[in-house]
Symmetry: C2
Subunit: 161 residues, 2 copies
């Protein structure tokens, strides 16, 4: 079935989690995050994010990359900054040949906890429990990336929502 990558893009931290989907379940292959230094210019940080993420994509070559759709209620400048990082991350993913699948925050929460209004902590708790991780993946962006990857496994196995 091949590898699945969950991705939670941001300019400061981009979380990723890679799962191997097999007939008898799924296995964690790798997880972590890409950071860019606050002191650099925004274009330079986008370039670093792109380069680091491309290296990870080339190393694992996931068949599918799952990302959460972005709904931002905060100020629009945050939306622009996150959008820029997300654009670069999606570009790296599509260039690697992966199929990109998007899920709403509701779908991710439902897929992980069975409850659409689950709190962030509950999602993280379930990510750790489902994958049998020795400890909570940190920072939050990594847990979120693993959550959307698990979510994609569930929906794919179940034939969609």
């Amino acid at each position: 079935m091949g590898l699945i990558m969950g991705l939670d893009p941001g300019l400061v931290v981009t979380g990723y989690g890679i799962l191997d989907v097999t007939d008898d379940g799924r296995r964690v292959v790798a997880y972590g995050c890409v950071r860019t230094p606050a002191g650099s210019s925004q274009p330079a940080r986008l370039e670093m994010l792109y380069r680091q993420l491309t290296a990870i994509l080339e190393r694992y070559h996931p068949e599918e990359v799952a990302v959460e759709q972005l709904f931002i209620n905060r100020n629009a400048s945050t939306a622009v900054s996150v959008g820029q990082a997300r654009g670069v991350a999606l570009l790296a993913a599509v260039q690697s040949g992966a199929r990109i699948v998007e899920y709403t925050p509701l779908q991710v929460k439902l897929g992980i906890t069975g409850f659409g209004r689950a709190e962030k902590k509950q999602v993280q708790y379930m990510v750790r429990a489902i994958l049998g991780l020795p400890e909570m993946p940190r920072p939050d962006d990594v847990a979120d990336a693993l959550a959307v990857a698990i979510c994609h496994c569930h929906y794919r196995a179940g034939g969609g929502l």
Copy 2:
């Protein structure tokens, strides 16, 4: 002094304008826009934008790329979409080796019309007049890209704001 590119990035249309700055003024080298088809997925459109823009950057190799800072009052999903396209455009620009310079909308209006509350039409009129273009550059995104390029020439010649 080398070439300057003004850029107005968007997922649907990205306008660009390239000026040659010489000792005795500036010359329009090229202007136009890159479009991506509405029927394609967002990641695919980002990839097309990146590829087309990279080809233009490789062709003209501008020393500096000027973009307008983004201030969005509309809904945040627009901000995310524009942000994604902007991220990919900035990535292409920085990868080409160009220095990226950002201007606020106020700086662009002041630089072109001398009036910070100038209407869009007035900016477009002045772009055409300043560059001696035979007709109004269309669509708006192209005029906006030329406006930020002119603005950059002015501020650079004047030693900054």
